[in-house]
Amino acid sequence: MKVNEVPQDDVFDYSEGIKKGNYALDDKGKYVMVPSKGWVIDEMINRMAYDEYKAKEEETRKAVLAGRKSPLAYYMELRQMTPEILGKTAGIATFRVKRHLRPEIFTKLKPSVLEAYAKALAITTEELITVPKNPRER
């Protein structure tokens, strides 16, 4: 790749400041590091991944409001976790985490268990028992 072939597309920057380096040949035949402004393909792939996280989060939020899932499920999606990872982080067995995703079981949880979840998800206990009424702006 030559220096002038490094993609410098004017696209939305998903990394917000993290410039991507590309190695390219300059006129003197030496490899140099060329920061890239962005590339349409990178932008598309990033948008896909990001939209997927967002869609999943929104879907879970609606399920919680409809009473099909517990708020724990929403915050788990928000932190891009699975029951296995959340269980390990909070120190709670995976099968228990899966049970706690059901709203009728979640409402009966002891404060100590809620605290463990809140700490693992880096939110407060008050936040954990509800979900936002409106989709999160981001």
């Binding site: 790749m1 410039k19 380096g21 590309n22 590091m33 590339w39 393909i41 598309m44 390990k88 982080t89």
Partner: protein, 343 residues
Amino acid sequence: MTTELAANGKPFVHQQAAHCETGVTSALFRHQGVDISEPMIFGIGSGIFFGYLPFIKLSHLPITAFRSKPGSVFRKAAKRLGADFVIKTFRNPQQGMDELRQLLKTGKIVGLATNLYWLPYVSERHRHNFSGHNIIVLRETESGFRICDPTFAMVDCTADGLQQARFVPGPLNPRGYMYYTKSINPHPDLRGACIKGMKDSCNAMLKIPLPIFGVRGIRFLAKKVVKSPDKLGFQEACRNLAGLVRWVEETGTGGAGFRYMYAAFIHEAAELFGSAELANLAEEMDAIGNNWREFSVISARIIKKRGKEEATFAKAGEAMLNCANREEAFFNNLQKVIRKIKT
């Protein structure tokens, strides 16, 4: 390029890097007075690789690694350059943080593996649950730590955030992975190290007797990509393909799945040995990089559903097979060239 003081008052120079681990390693070496570039570290540490790991999932998609396993580049490069180094993991987060603080007090700068999601300075849109992001800690401040992220900039980070990022469980749990150099040979044997690195890379790409690694791995994945729309359905196949393109272009690879960075290394090695054959191989590697770029472009067209006749999954698979064939030839040639050049 910016300069800042480390804990012992020694100036630390921040240089933008393409990849986190090679960037951290070359910065650690430069800080101790050995001027070495990022591609050089990448080549000496045998960074180039291919592995398709369907059994480890990150956000429900399989891992496709275009580099060797996290941590190995630093270990191999430091060993081959004759440095005295320490690598540590911890069971107890508190102990890990205490040891980090003590090291910083003695004036060392320390490399860490962290989780990209939990690093507080990473922007919301760039967050992914990936536990292999390498950073350098320069010194402790009143509010936390001063950090140099070689792919980003100099940043401040809170102590709690850093602890969370270092010890969060999940796939590829870093367990507080920490590394630093005790002392460095000021005049390392670069030629010997380069030869060792290149030999190791040839073996990794050609001789691992499992179908998911090296050149065979590329072919394996190519076949899978061709079959994927029939097996998974068009939508899901597109998702998988997009995940694959992420690994080629987006994960700090310096473009085309590290192939351009490796070309830069071979180019530098050719100057070091004064070998015209290596210079030709550098050009070939650059061309392979262009092929991988083509693959990304084809994949993007499939996902956008533009021009259905030209861009199909079969075409994408063909582009990958083309890469595999050229890489096989490249590493076979490299092996022959290594035998001729002497330290």
